[in-house]
């Protein structure tokens, strides 16, 4: 629990970065994806998923600190983000 040794500090830095940046990436991807798949007119679907996104982000950050495993945290955030974002973009093409 104490960031005394340098390696401990690095681990915490990476975990915090995962929470802030990885969490934001996953959240953004979720907005892109949900904006395309929610059964609403496109603009409203995006608005709805943007409003939910702050809960998604909070959950992602809490999760990162709960798993206590940086590799799992980074992978668990970035892999779904890398799937959801392009999928959402692809599904949303041509939709009006």
């Amino acid at each position: 629990m104490k960031p005394t040794s340098p390696s401990r500090g690095r681990i915490l830095l990476s975990r915090t970065a995962a929470a802030i940046f990885g969490g934001y990436a996953l959240t953004s991807a979720s907005v892109i994806f949900l904006g395309a798949v929610l059964p609403l007119p496109k603009s409203q679907a995006i608005l709805a998923s943007s409003l939910i996104s702050f809960a998604v982000y909070t959950a992602a950050i809490i999760w990162v600190f709960a798993v206590q495993d940086n590799r799992r945290a980074w992978l668990g955030l970035l892999l779904p983000a890398l799937v959801l974002a392009p999928l959402g973009w692809w599904l949303g093409r041509g939709m009006v």
Binding site: A29, A45, L47, F54
Partner: protein, 545 residues
């Protein structure tokens, strides 16, 4: 791993997150909560700061004695003469709290500029003999952007997310949330601070969750642009689609004069059945120009709602003056999602339930500030008794920095807030950019409190700053009486409850500050007399700090 061990592990990691995440976030958040709570009463504060404007309720409705068509002509004439080729014009009409016309435009660097004009002569108001003031807007701007524009909004958003995480991790950490629901045990040092922190947080939790979430939702387009960026070409295109408004048009490069805006005003007000607050012109001087007029927001007593209180809008072609769309006051567009967003925004802005809602927001906002303050103080109280050595050899220095930041960000910002009121009364009239000097006096006072905290022993710094807050708060009516000739009694005699309430509230906070300072002083004296704290205090165990 058994379920129980797993649960304890989760609680430990959440306690760590709550302690450290909370610590780094609580200074900024304390500022956000104090200024936000004051910002709830921005109009009242503005009236107190500007004795020249009428008291609340005196001016309302269509016929408020202002020649609005003339005001619009004055604004349009200025913009046409000085910035004919800007991409954007805006005209803010005189209101109850400001008798001037405000003109807005985008300069060559795409930056928004604005200027206040006399509503009849059209002369720019640079310096005046009146008490020009930033008023209560100062607190609103501190609250959401620290007077730092988009960067400030991001900063506040970042820490608001930290607050959401802090609330969730705090609830997970708190072992006996229902058992300790009403528990506060005073006079027990660390235990008391923890109790107080738990009590103010848990008892106002619905408000804290709501205010953090709705604050983020208000700026969703800035904070979470991914969806709009991916699925739309521009923000305007998204808005036009969402609100089924006329789509903004591309500039053509063909020169064309903007139609007479006073006629646009008259036509809009007739249809909206209320005064306009703002007129915007997109692409003035181009044949693609378009105009939107906005009806004034009217807070009706006896009619309270969270949705459908909009002032209405009318859309016109900017050159021909032909009407393109009409959105009646209270008309809803954008479906359920937009309704939810509007409700969230209204919930955050506290303008839906009259004075009762404002006072409850003020109280709950101060509870939020108290949550930050007790958390920050608890962190230090715990470590003052027994260092946890988190930073190795540097631990004492880091603790000292944290202590200084605590003092300047809690008692210091309070001092700066009341200093702002003193600045309003003491800065000479007629000085150029007087409102900016008020804001500068606020920041200078705030900065000095950190310096003071750094050069004085911690307990003395706390006591002295709290005494300074008390003195400035309690003497505010005296200052007002000396400078302007008014104070809360004369306000009350005139039936101006709003201005009187500003001083009475300041005095109450002054008394609270005095009481806290006295308590600290007594405790400190006891400690000095005993020389060393009782050893039994060091062994007090708590789950969180």
């Amino acid at each position: 791993m058994s379920q129980a061990v797993k649960k304890e592990g989760l609680r430990q990691s959440m306690a760590w997150l709550h302690t450290w995440g909370g610590l780094w976030a609580c200074w900024i958040l304390f500022v956000v909560f104090i200024t936000g709570s004051l910002g709830v009463f921005d109009e009242a504060i503005t009236r107190w700061m500007k004795p020249q404007i009428p008291q609340a309720g005196e001016v309302r409705g269509m016929d408020d004695g202002v020649d609005r068509p003339l005001a619009v002509r004055v604004g349009q004439a200025y913009l046409r003469e000085h910035v004919p080729s800007s991409h954007f014009w805006g005209i803010g009409l005189p209101s109850d709290t400001d008798p001037a016309v405000r003109v807005f435009w985008q300069d060559e660097k795409e930056q928004f500029q604005n200027l206040r004009l006399d509503a009849t002569s059209g002369e720019p108001i640079k310096a005046s003999t009146e008490r020009e003031s930033e008023g209560g807007h100062h607190f609103v701007h501190m609250h959401f952007e620290f007077h730092a524009g988009t960067a400030g909004i991001w900063l506040v958003g970042f820490f608001t997310m930290a607050m959401l995480v802090g609330l969730v991790s705090g609830v997970i950490t708190h072992k006996r949330i229902f058992k300790d629901f009403f528990t506060f045990r005073p006079g027990k040092q660390q235990r008391s601070w923890l109790d107080a922190h738990n009590a103010v947080s848990v008892l106002s939790l619905p408000f804290q969750l709501m205010i953090a979430y709705t604050g983020l939702a208000t700026f969703y387009m800035l904070y979470m642009p991914a969806g709009i960026e991916t699925h739309y070409s521009t923000d305007d295109a998204y808005f036009a689609d969402l609100l089924t408004q006329p789509t903004p048009r591309e500039e053509t490069g063909i020169k064309a004069e903007v139609t007479a805006l006073d006629q646009i005003l008259i036509s809009s007000e007739k249809q909206l059945q209320r005064p306009l607050s703002f007129i915007s012109v997109e692409h003035p001087g181009d044949s693609s120009a378009s105009i939107v007029t906005f009806g004034r927001f009217i807070e009706k007593t006896g009619e309270y709602r969270l949705l459908g209180d909009g002032g209405g809008q009318v859309f016109f072609d900017g050159v021909s003056g032909e009407q393109q769309d009409f959105q009646a006051p209270g008309e809803l567009r954008g479906g359920a999602a937009q309704d939810v967003q509007s409700v969230m925004r209204n919930l955050h802005f506290a303008a839906f339930g009259g004075l009762t809602a404002r006072w409850l927001y003020f109280i709950c906002g101060l509870a939020g500030a108290a949550m930050m303050a007790t958390g920050a103080i608890l962190f230090m109280v715990k470590r003052r008794q027994r260092s946890l050595n988190e930073f190795g050899a540097r631990t004492p220095q880091v603790y000292r920095i944290i202590e200084v930041l605590n003092i300047g960000s809690i008692s210091g910002i309070s001092l700066a807030c009341i200093a702002f009121f003193w600045g309003n009364r003491l800065i000479p009239l007629g000085i150029t950019d007087r409102p900016e000097w008020e804001v500068i006096s606020f920041f200078v006072a705030w900065l000095l409190t950190y310096v003071h905290a750094a050069i004085r022993p911690a307990t003395k710094a706390w006591i002295e700053q709290l005494l300074a807050v008390a003195a400035l708060c309690l003497a505010l009516p005296l200052l007002n009486w000396l400078v302007v000739g008014d104070q809360f009694v004369s306000y009350l005699q005139r039936g101006d409850g709003e201005r009187a309430a500003v001083e009475l509230t300041a005095m109450s906070i002054g008394l609270l500050s005095l009481w806290t300072a006295r308590k600290l002083w007594l405790k400190n004296r006891q400690k000095v007399e005993r020389k060393t704290p009782q050893p039994s205090l060091n062994t007090a165990k708590v789950e969180v700090a």
